[in-house]
């Protein structure tokens, strides 16, 4: 069973992800989520009464989709981009805590391919883009044993991005 987790991000960051998805349509966009895991004392309590760890997203690092084919339903971030993202995060005193990508004309639900290629610990945001307009946004995290890809609660933070 995956731990219930909560992802906290500002409306500004949410908007940037949605815009990146819309601009990249009909191709998939992708980028890194920069932030940190909040201290336990900041943990919120979910509706079920269970304490849920909170992860804050404080900046984005948009990337170029490295796929050379199937850009409409695949994205790829190569190791060099991962290293660049980690450097951008370090420069801001943050970590790469996850990745975002869009699903053009497809729901914001992970695919089997998403799950097979996921790493544990990272948060994976998916934004659905229908006919060029950003729609639903969800976030997902792979369980420790790779058996479950559970959705994370997304909450809004008021302060601006770094």
């Amino acid at each position: 069973m995956a731990t219930a987790t909560t992802l906290k991000l500002s409306r500004e960051i949410t908007q940037k992800i949605r815009e990146h998805g819309a601009q990249s349509y009909p191709h998939e966009c992708c980028g890194a989520l920069l932030g940190h895991d909040a201290e336990e004392t900041n943990a919120v309590t979910t509706a079920g009464g269970v304490s849920a760890p909170v992860r804050e997203i404080l900046a984005l690092f948009p990337l170029v989709n490295r796929r050379e084919d199937s850009l409409h339903n695949r994205f790829s971030v190569n190791a060099e981009d991962v290293r660049d993202s980690e450097k951008a995060a370090r420069d801001k005193g943050l970590d790469v805590v996850g990745w975002y990508h869009s699903h053009p004309d497809h729901p914001a639900r992970p695919s089997q391919y998403d799950r097979e290629h996921a790493w544990p610990w990272y948060s994976y945001i998916i934004v659905s883009v229908a006919k060029g307009k950003a729609q639903e946004m969800t976030s997902w995290r792979l369980s420790d044993d790779r058996s479950e890809y559970a959705c994370e609660e997304i909450t809004m933070r008021d302060s601006a991005a770094r």
Binding site: W99, H103, S111, Y113, W119, R146
Partner: protein, 99 residues
């Protein structure tokens, strides 16, 4: 002194929260074998069920990608640094999961 192995952030929870460790090994394959013996929870994230390195796991010896060297047979010596770097992939079709 051995071979230093840098562990990527998403896998540190499975390696005693360490960002690196040292192993005695003469090849990359041996180093990864010793690493996953010491931290057995790492194995399923680095290797497929049939023991092959997962396609989105990139391994470098002193910044050289082992795909362009001798892959897992790439020799290592004391003082070398092995970096495990993720690549990230995904896409739509065939939804697998729901909230």
């Amino acid at each position: 002194m051995g071979v230093k192995v840098i562990i990527p952030t998403p896998l540190r929870a499975y390696a005693g929260k360490r960002d690196s460790t040292e192993v005695k090994a003469t090849t990359v394959g041996e180093a990864l074998g010793r690493l996953t013996t010491e931290f057995s929870d790492l194995r399923k994230h680095l290797f497929t069920d049939d023991g092959k390195l997962r396609s989105f796991v990139n391994v470098y010896v002193n910044d050289e990608d082992i795909r362009y060297l001798a892959k897992e047979n790439t020799p290592t010596k004391d003082g070398d640094t092995i970096s495990i770097v993720p690549s990230i992939a995904g896409g739509n079709r065939l939804a697998c999961c729901s909230c």
